[in-house]
Structures are given as C-alpha cells and as structure tokens.
C-alpha cells in the first residue's frame, strides 16, 4: 500500500540537494534526464582530467626540483614579423583560434537541437577548420623549436633539460586530442549533412540510431580540449 502512494512522488524530480540525494539513492539510474552517451562522455572526460592533471603535477615537480634555470617561455615562443620579436605571440593566436572554435561548437550544439541541419553543418565544419589551423600552428611551433632552437626531450641550449620533455609530452598529448577531435568533427559534419541525425540512421560503430544529442556529446569533448588548453596556457606558457 505504501508503495502505491510512493509511486507518483518518486517520479517527480526534485531540484537542489534534495534532488541530489534522491537521484543517488533512487536504486536506479543516478543521472536522471541524461542520455547514456553523455554520461559516458563525462566519465571519459573526468578520467582524462586525471591524465592531464598528472602531467601538469609532474611538470610542477620537475620544474621546482631542477637546479638549472627554466627557459623563459616568453622569449622561446616569441616571433618576429619583420620588426622586433613579439613575446608569445604564436601561442596567443593559437589560444584565440581555439576559443573561437569553442564558440562555433557551442552554437552548433544549439542549432542542432533546433534541427537546423545546414547551420549545424557549417558550424561543425568551421570548428573543424579552426581545430586543424590550431594543429597546423602547433606543427610550425614544434618544427621551429626542434630545427631552429635545438630543443630535444633530453636537453636544450636555453636551460633546464626538463623543459623539452615536459613541452613535448604535454603539448603533444593535447595536440593529439585536438587532432582526434577534428576527425570526429568531420565525421559528424558528414552525418549531419547526410541527414543521419534527422533520420536516426544507425551509426557504423555503435549501431545506435543517430540524433542531435550526439552533437552535444561531441561538443563536450571539444570544449574539454579547449579547457585543457586554458590550463596549459596559464601554467606552462605564462608561469
């Protein structure tokens, strides 16, 4: 009898902390109103946070413990356009490119939910192009450091040897994330353009019907890549 009177109540989702305890103690799905793929993406992103967190924590440890002076990022990453070298300018441009791509991605998610196929498509393509631009600039940065400045993972002419290993590991891993993101942005541009998300066509990999929630899940990954760059920019390039 008591279960009957309980039933209508328990279907209602409460806001705030009451809702928090209800959701977690409901003996069912903890994440109410969250699509399966989105919960899985968040679990992946939390684990990825730990990977980048470990990288940045070890960077702090090696930088604090070296006796040799740490190379000045401001000077190492300066570029000159004919005149005097402008400090850190390439990294600043890369930051703006990535933020712009995050903005177009956020708009793509919103237009996706509005079922506006072609605006979503062009916003996704723009995001992919900006992401590829970022990776291109990173390739330029790496080759300049390797071939002109002589930076290696085991040493460099400017100071502490750990600078090279930290730089290649952290920016390399981040660049890899951006590259994977660009590939998936292109795959989803194709799926949107072909109408796979409108028609709920089965995906080639998961065999689940397509829908515009996938754009939000892809967006979470892309914003995460931008988020990691915020920390790398502050802690590695500016510190």
């Amino acid at each position: 009898m008591s279960t009957e009177t309980m039933a209508p109540d328990s279907l209602e989702l409460k806001p705030g902390m009451d809702g928090f305890f209800d959701d977690w103690s409901s003996d069912q799905l903890a994440f109410k109103e969250v699509p399966w793929g989105k919960a899985m993406m968040w679990i992946f992103l939390v684990s990825d946070t730990f990977i980048f967190g470990c990288f940045l924590a070890s960077y702090m440890t090696v930088r604090k413990s070296t006796l040799e002076p740490w190379p000045s990022a401001s000077e190492v990453f300066a570029l000159s356009f004919g005149g005097a070298p402008i400090p850190l300018i390439l990294i600043a441009i890369m930051t703006f490119v990535l933020i712009t791509s995050s903005g177009t991605m956020a708009l793509a998610v919103n237009y996706g939910y509005r079922k506006n196929k072609w605006v979503t498509f062009w916003l996704l393509v723009t995001t992919a192009v900006l992401g590829a631009t970022f990776v291109g600039m990173q390739v330029f940065e790496w080759s300049k450091l390797i071939f002109e400045e002589g930076v290696r993972p085991w040493g460099n002419p400017m100071g502490a040897a750990q600078f090279g290993s930290v730089f290649f590991m952290i920016t390399g891993f981040h660049g890899f994330h951006v590259s994977i993101g660009v590939i998936f942005l292109l795959i989803f541009s194709y799926k949107v353009a072909r109408g796979h998300l409108d028609d709920q066509t089965q995906g080639w990999f998961t065999k689940r019907g397509g829908n515009y929630e996938e754009i939000e899940i892809l967006g979470l990954y892309w914003h995460f890549v931008d988020l990691v760059w915020v920390f790398i920019f502050a802690l590695f390039y500016l510190w």
Binding site: G19, F20, D23, W24, A30, F31, K32, E33, V34, P35, A39, W42, V46, T49, F50, G53, C54, A57, M60, T61, V62, R63, K64, S65, T66, L67, S74, P87, L88, A92, T95, F96, I99, T100, S102, G103, M105, A106, L107, V109, N110, Y113, R114, G209, N211, Y212, E213, E216, G219, H223, F224, D226, L227, V230, F233, A234, L235, Y237, L238, W239
Partner: protein, 128 residues
Amino acid sequence: MDHTADGHAQVVREEQAIQHPLGVYFKIWILLFILSAMSYAVDFFQVQGYLRWFLILMFMVLKAGLIIAVFMHMVWERLAMVYFILVPPALLLTLVAIGALEADWTFFQRGVYFLKELILEAPVSPHH
C-alpha cells in the same frame, strides 16, 4: 521511437536545450576573448612576482569556470551529475601538494650532492 519512454525523455531534453538563448553563448564567447587578452597582457607587459601568479591563476580559473558552466552546460545539469564531475578532480590538489613537498626535498638533495661534487673536483690549493 518517439513513443517509447526514452523517446519521450529525449523530446523533453531537446525542448529544454532550445530554451538556452543564443545570446548567452555570444556573451561568454566575448568574455573568454577578453580574459584571454588580459592573461596575454600579463606576459606582454612583463608583470612579475606574486601579482603575475595571482593574475594568471585568476584568469585561468575564470576562463575554465565559464567554459564548464555555460559551454559544457553544467549550470543546466542536475546536482547528482555536477558533483560527480567536479568533486573527484579536487583530489588532484592532494597530488599537487605531495609533488610540491617532494620537489622541495629533491631540490635540496640535488643542491647538497652537486655542491659536494664541485668541492671534490676542485683543484687542491697549494697552500694546504
């Protein structure tokens, strides 16, 4: 598909998502640009010392917060998910604290060891 429970939930979610006004995204976008420009300015004008650390970390936290809250839709999520995402990474602070302690010890040990090496390698003074 739309007649199943999952399909119904999906329609509700889509309606909620459309309600996020586009203007919010543009405002956050502009804010992120301004904050990035300001953190670049910290380096450009060579602000040094504790003020540099404070400004860099403040702009970093503000930017990260805006991206997570709005672009990643955290302000619209239920607390059950918000805490699952935001609380575990706080453990990283423990790792940072342990790393900082160990780094200081390593720095001290290296100082002692390399100093000893320098003394042993130094040419013997003719006065001794």
